[in-house]
């Protein structure tokens, strides 16, 4: 596993040096900093708008970073021919792929940690009366966004084993879009008793195969503080497990393709 961690460490270093990612990160942080400017809204809306906007910025920025970061990982190695040097050593291809993925997730985690720190600072400045419990509640969302983006990175990593970066960018974005917006729809369709069996079957299949990114959007429960959350710890455990298994699915599939790839 040393090889995996070495590759991961190198990948993190490369990612931090990439200007395009730093620019995206900077824009995200900038948006977080100017978020208080939206406090011209009424006092009742202030908390809602501030939390919604800042969490939205983190989620959107993270999604762009996750995809941009991952789609180039393998193609760049092939293009620069550094992959031959690595694979000529006693390193398995799946080591290489796993190392690259873990490196991407590590870099993503560092960037998201920076944004989350800025988020907490902005929140504390704007909502002085907020307790530590409120802050920790707010910080829950970025953590699950990180889990969500780790899953998205696995999707992009899988596609990067057989499509070009540009195609991968749109493909991964599309999967994220479908998995975020339509997972609940397909779930509801699959449970609808009035629908025909083939329609329900198709909905169930799509809902099972397409990763459900929607379930990581937990900001509603944080922004709207009224509803009492039920069995929330169990739910958090479930979606982390879901991510682990689904990441495994994409990485195994990617490894199987990469193993046969002519490099």
């Amino acid at each position: 596993m040393n090889a995996v961690f070495s590759i991961a460490k190198t990948t993190i270093g490369e990612a931090i040096r990439r200007r395009v990612l730093l620019v995206i990160l900077l824009i995200g942080v900038l948006f977080l900093v100017i978020a208080p400017g939206l406090s011209v809204l009424s006092a009742r809306q202030n908390y809602t708008v501030l939390t919604s906007f800042t969490l939205g910025v983190i989620q959107l920025t993270s999604a762009v970073i996750a995809i941009v970061l991952t789609v180039y990982l393998l193609p760049n190695e092939v293009e620069r021919r550094t992959i031959y040097t690595i694979l000529s050593k006693p390193v398995y291809r799946w080591h290489f792929l796993l190392g690259k993925y873990l490196g991407a997730v590590g870099a993503l985690g560092m960037m998201m940690l920076l944004m989350s720190t800025v988020l907490v600072l902005v929140f504390k400045i704007m909502q002085r009366e907020a307790s530590m419990e409120d802050v920790s509640r707010l910080a829950t969302a970025p953590f699950f966004f990180f889990v969500q983006m780790s899953l998205l990175a696995a999707v992009a990593m899988f596609f990067s084993t057989f499509v070009s970066p540009i195609v991968n960018f749109f493909l991964s974005g599309g999967v994220y879009l479908v998995g975020t917006l339509f997972s609940p729809v397909f779930q509801d369709l699959s449970e609808n008793k009035t629908l025909a069996a083939p329609v329900k079957g198709a909905a169930t299949l799509i809902h099972t195969v397409v990763p459900n990114f929607a379930q990581y959007n937990i900001q509603g429960g944080i922004i709207n503080q009224g509803p009492e959350l039920r069995s929330v710890e169990l739910y958090y455990a479930q979606i982390v497990l879901y991510a682990v298994f689904y990441i495994a699915v994409f990485l195994i599939a990617g490894m199987m393709i990469f193993d046969r790839k002519e490099v």
């Binding site: 009424s42 809306q45 919604s52 509801d188 709207n224 039920r230 739910y235 195994i252 490894m255």
Partner: protein, 458 residues
Amino acid sequence: MKLNRTAMSIALVACLTVAGGINRWAYPLWRVNFSPRKNSDLRGLSGDQLLIALAGFREMVAGILWVRADTFFDEGNYDAILPIIRLVTMLDPKQIDVYATGMWHIAYNFTDEQNRSDRRYIPSALALGAEGSQNNDYTYELYFETGWLWYHKIDDDYDKAVSWWEKASTKKDIQTARRNILSMAYLRSGDFDKAIAHYEELLGEAETAFQKTPNDFAARQQRDTLETNLDNVLVRLAQRGNFALKGGYYDQGDYDTKPPYDVGFSARVTVEDSKVLRVEGTWGVQPVGTRIRIVLRDADDPNGRPAEMVWERGDKVDLDPDREATFMQDGLFVKNQAFYRRIDMSRDPTMYPFTTDKYVVEFYYNIRSGPPHLQDRFGYSGEGMTDARYMNTEVRPGQRVIYAKLELTRDQLLRQGEWATKVPVVQTDGFVTTGTNQSTDVIKIPTLRSDREETTGN
């Protein structure tokens, strides 16, 4: 070294199966805790709005839109507010204020030139309330607001208000004072036992709270208020003979509702001009301020019901009312035992389209909506009220109401065809001309005679 592809394939399928299982297991919890909407997706949103929702800026955009709506309120641009209300509730279904304000706005604010609200919007307001309460079922607020719409605006079918307020009462966050009104709804729906039981339950709680904090003004006030309300209800039920009615000995006692008082109702409708009605008539009850409901509606409207319409029409929130339907409702103010009102619908063609051939003009009086001092005489269900011609026990089962119906044609209402030169006049049997046009400010004060000597003055 090549991978063991068989083992990898098995692992892949196993992981996918487990992930699928977890997904189905976790979904109900996501739906309960974090889904913005309980029963729907984002099908009502356009592409750019979907993008906003996707990007996670739902609440922010909804908040900004709502602030924008505020400026439309200030400008009186009510039509522009409707789509914003819908958009905000789609983007952020947790915005209780928007649902509540939206319901009020839809049900109350679209009025004609004489300030009669367009009641064709009420089904939309109710649907919005139903959707809002479903999306925010953790709080009493939208259950209460929907109940209030039935109780105050529709002012009929009180069992609906009861049903909504009973749900509101089960919520932990309901304010104490707002639980009290459920008893009023029970009374208006005719369920006196539940009204008493509810007051007693609340009084018990208030008493306990007061014992704990005897120096707390609010606790004392709540207890005193409930005690007074319960006493009043018990006294009224006794004096009006409701206990006797229930016990089957009403005929043997001397109650305030006996003998039934003849209200001497009569009415005439004259179509003065196209879509302009002059309504006049008699109501032999002395106190000033009785309002008799008048409704003009399409005779064959499938949603029409005596002196009202079918208000609940499913959960679909359609902010565009039935543009083909005509439904006018107003209150005829009684003074000096007569009423007179000029109803001008000519300046609001979109509200009163008059697209069908036949119309009914209905007059309706239900003491359940009346003030307590009149209920003291007429009873909760009209036991102490009668009318030689128009007493009705069918249009509202279990209640004695005054109900009369007249018919008009489209040609008559628009003063066209043979009615271009003839003045259409329809009136109830026994119409009595009073000659009043209510221009006088003089109110005739009745003499202090006993109940037994009351006359209708007709």
